[in-house]
């Protein structure tokens, strides 16, 4: 299924940072949601800022418009404030994109676990993200760092406990 671009994507002013404050706010919201849905669709968990500038996400070749680096940074800052983005380095060149927040992932995983009556069992992280059983699930293929955070969120909630095992980590659900 190919990605569906929002109407703004083909509207040239979308790629110019608007001076009018109200207009700008709506514009940035639209950009944030576009970035998140694009990453979700392509299952991107990390972004390199330089690459992002050239990717179709910020660069619409059809109308010959692309976001300036400055504006991209502003969009990323908005995402960070909302809790959907985390910088990996001080220079702000690479970031983690959480198009779903850890809490939301945690909830999904727990739902699957309880649906299959596997509460009180122990799983390795690998099993959860790459096991055959989870192939149909949305969290299949989830990157380890994201999985870990989601489980940590569950742990805080008291619904799971992360265990250290010989060759990695595991988790027990309550």
């Amino acid at each position: 299924m190919s990605f569906e671009w929002p109407w703004q994507y083909n509207f040239p002013p979308f790629f110019t940072l608007q001076p009018n404050a109200d207009t700008r706010q709506k514009q940035l919201e639209a950009w944030c949601s576009l970035a998140l849905s694009y990453c979700r669709h392509h299952k991107l968990y990390t972004l390199d800022v330089m690459e992002a500038q050239e990717s179709p996400m910020f660069n619409n070749k059809k109308i010959e418009r692309k976001l300036s680096m400055e504006t991209i940074q502003i969009v990323f800052e908005e995402l960070r404030k909302k809790g959907n983005l985390e910088w990996l380095d001080k220079n702000k060149l690479r970031c983690l994109v959480m198009w779903r927040r850890p809490e939301e992932w945690g909830k999904l995983i727990y739902q699957w676990v309880s649906k299959n009556g596997m509460v009180n069992s122990v799983f390795t992280l690998y099993e959860l993200s790459n096991g055959d059983d989870t192939q149909e699930e949305e969290f299949h293929g989830l990157e380890e760092w994201m999985l870990l955070r989601s489980l940590q969120a569950l742990q805080t909630d008291g619904r799971a406990e992360i265990i250290s095992m010989d060759d990695g980590k595991g988790v027990k659900f309550f």
């Binding site: 109407w7 703004q8 509207f11 040239p12 002013p13 790629f15 110019t16 608007q18 001076p19 009018n20 109200d22 207009t23 709506k26 514009q27 639209a30 010959e64 418009r65």
Partner: protein, 324 residues
């Protein structure tokens, strides 16, 4: 005889590198206190670098070191008088070697200096006269202010315009513009009459620069200064004339009819833009028959109100209806 050769300390032969010409660096002693005048009294560098583009550095180096050891110049017979601090004699001495060259340069410099001062003598006299004139006009202007002179209204105005044309700031206008001089009031009324028709033709708004040109062209003689124009326009409101002076955010000043409605302008701008999909300031100007400056101001105003949004790219600045 202290020449630069005496300051010679040592000499390095820089090796020849590909694409770089060979260089010889000559390090010098610091200048002794009794150094003669020369091209430079002192320098912040303690070495001289000689660059050899083609070749010859080896030969030069050899000869230089030879001369350094021999110090032949010290053995030369003292056939010319030894120069003192100022060093210039009326009769031309036999200029030998580097000392001679330095002396010639110094002579030439002094000559040039003299010529320049002579040339500017007349100018300094003129500057003194100009200063007197400025003082005189200032005193007259003050007298007018204090009404100590027997000068009529008309002559005051004429005198003020003379002052302005000479570029001398007129204290009278500045101080009284707040309350409005009679002159400006008259001028404002005159402008009110004169500008009605042109304003209506141009959709109710004209840039102040356009007004200035129009008014002065009409007057022919007794032209208005920009300052007078602005001051007169500022009085429109207090004189209850149907015109207004308006300043945009960008600093552009316009004269507009009071009846001119802002909302109408913006609404019509939005219509025009929606009609054509998008417009640049130039296209909009052509459409309405306005100047590009005014049409841009109108578009910017519509953007400020949130009716339009902008697309800024290498192709230029375009305005679209705000679909956000």
């Amino acid at each position: 005889v202290a020449t630069f050769l005496n300051l010679f300390v040592c000499c390095f032969n820089k090796c020849f590198l590909l694409f770089q010409s060979a260089k010889i660096v000559i390090h010098l002693h610091p200048t002794p206190p009794n150094k003669e005048p020369g091209p430079y009294q002192q320098s912040k560098y303690s070495y001289i670098k000689l660059s050899f583009k083609e070749h010859g550095q080896i030969e030069f180096y050899r000869r230089l070191t030879e001369e350094m050891t021999k110090k032949r110049w010290e053995n030369m017979p003292v056939s010319q008088p030894i120069p003192t601090g100022t060093g210039l004699q009326a009769g031309r001495t036999r200029a030998v070697g580097i000392v001679g060259i330095e002396r010639k340069i110094e002579e030439k410099r002094k000559e040039t200096d003299k010529n320049i001062s002579e040339a500017f003598e007349d100018l300094s006299k003129l500057m003194v006269k100009a200063k007197e004139m400025v003082e005189l006009s200032k005193s007259i202007a003050n007298k007018i202010k204090d009404k100590q002179g027997d000068i009529t209204e008309d002559e005051t105005i004429r005198f003020k315009s003379y002052l302005l044309s000479m570029g001398i700031a007129d204290p009278v206008t500045r101080e009284t513009h707040g309350s409005g001089t009679h002159y400006h009031m008259q001028l404002a009324k005159q402008l009110g009459d004169m500008l009605q028709a042109p304003l209506e033709e141009r959709g109710g708004m004209m840039a102040l620069t356009e007004v200035y040109c129009l008014v002065n062209r009409a007057r022919g003689m007794e032209l208005l200064s920009p300052e007078d124009l602005v001051n007169a326009c500022k009085m429109f409101e207090s004189l209850k004339l149907p015109l207004r002076l308006r300043v945009f955010d960008s600093g552009v000043m316009v004269v507009q009819l009071q009846s001119h409605s802002e909302e109408e302008m913006i609404a019509s701008a939005l219509d025009n833009v929606s009609d054509k999909g998008s417009l640049t300031a130039e296209e909009f100007a052509k459409l309405l028959g306005l100047s590009v400056l005014l049409s841009k101001e109108r578009l910017l105003l519509a953007e400020k109100m949130g009716h339009l949004c902008r697309d800024d790219s290498v192709e230029g600045l375009r305005f679209y209806p705000n679909l956000f």
